[in-house]
Symmetry: C2
Subunit: 151 residues, 2 copies
């Protein structure tokens, strides 16, 4: 496809890179989801649990979760709804600022997070096809992509 493309619109580097980014993300996500499925969570929900576990108080405002994971508020609400229904997270009005809703890990949530992390570490987060050097290299270049100010 790259060759055909170059005939049509010139340099294909950016197009190839974006195609690779999309396919690599799909592949890695499918691997992670396959490992998480028996635990009843998706990778999106895993990321929410992990983020909560990293917070000092074990709880975070929903708005902060969306910001950190760079997802739409609706997606955060959906993930939290599911996690609450599963008993892995509680949701409560922040008593120190009643406009905010806080999500917090339950003990069950911590247990699922621990099992999920163990399962993900066992497959090296789906990137065990890369050497450690390649993992660092990929991280460095993706970090540049993430940090690009693009407004």
């Amino acid at each position: 496809a790259g060759e055909l493309w170059e005939e049509h619109v010139g340099d294909a580097t950016a197009m190839r890179l974006v195609t690779s980014l999309m396919r690599a993300q799909q592949l890695v996500l499918a691997r992670l989801e396959a490992v998480l499925k028996p635990l009843g969570i998706t990778f999106a929900r895993y990321e929410v649990l992990r983020l909560l576990s990293f917070s000092r108080a074990g709880s975070l405002p929903l708005s902060k979760i969306g910001e950190r994971l760079m997802v739409h508020p609706t997606s955060v609400t959906n993930a939290i709804d599911r996690l609450v229904a599963q008993g892995l997270v509680t949701r409560a009005v922040d008593e120190s600022d009643r406009r905010r809703v806080l999500a917090a890990l339950t003990p069950e949530g911590r247990a699922v997070l621990r099992d999920a992390t163990e399962a993900l570490v066992a497959i090296d987060f789906g990137v065990d096809g890369l050497t450690s050097g390649q993992q660092h290299q990929a991280y460095d270049v993706l970090r540049v992509l993430r940090s690009t100010d693009w407004t």
Copy 2:
């Protein structure tokens, strides 16, 4: 988060890489979708149009589209449904193999593809924050990730 993680589960390279992969994909996809929205298509539908334009006959079986884009048959069907409703693609039974359904570009589809490609090239497919060298480097390492046999 990486430091906290290392206290808990050891080396965080793979976890950091996967987090970066997810965030970079979300960011780049949001940039592409913003540019495509005025043209009435998503990046998923853009990829279908592009794939059809690359095929020798200008048409492809739906199964082949899913395979190439590495997406679920349901996602292909949804994308094709929308593209047909928009008049950008036609769908017909393959007369040479009546078990297969072929999708083909319409002249309108080709026109939208051309406009969309122009718009995406203008923003360097959302990766203009990377130098050409970094784009090649990122492509090379993501390609390794994609090609990893993982069964």
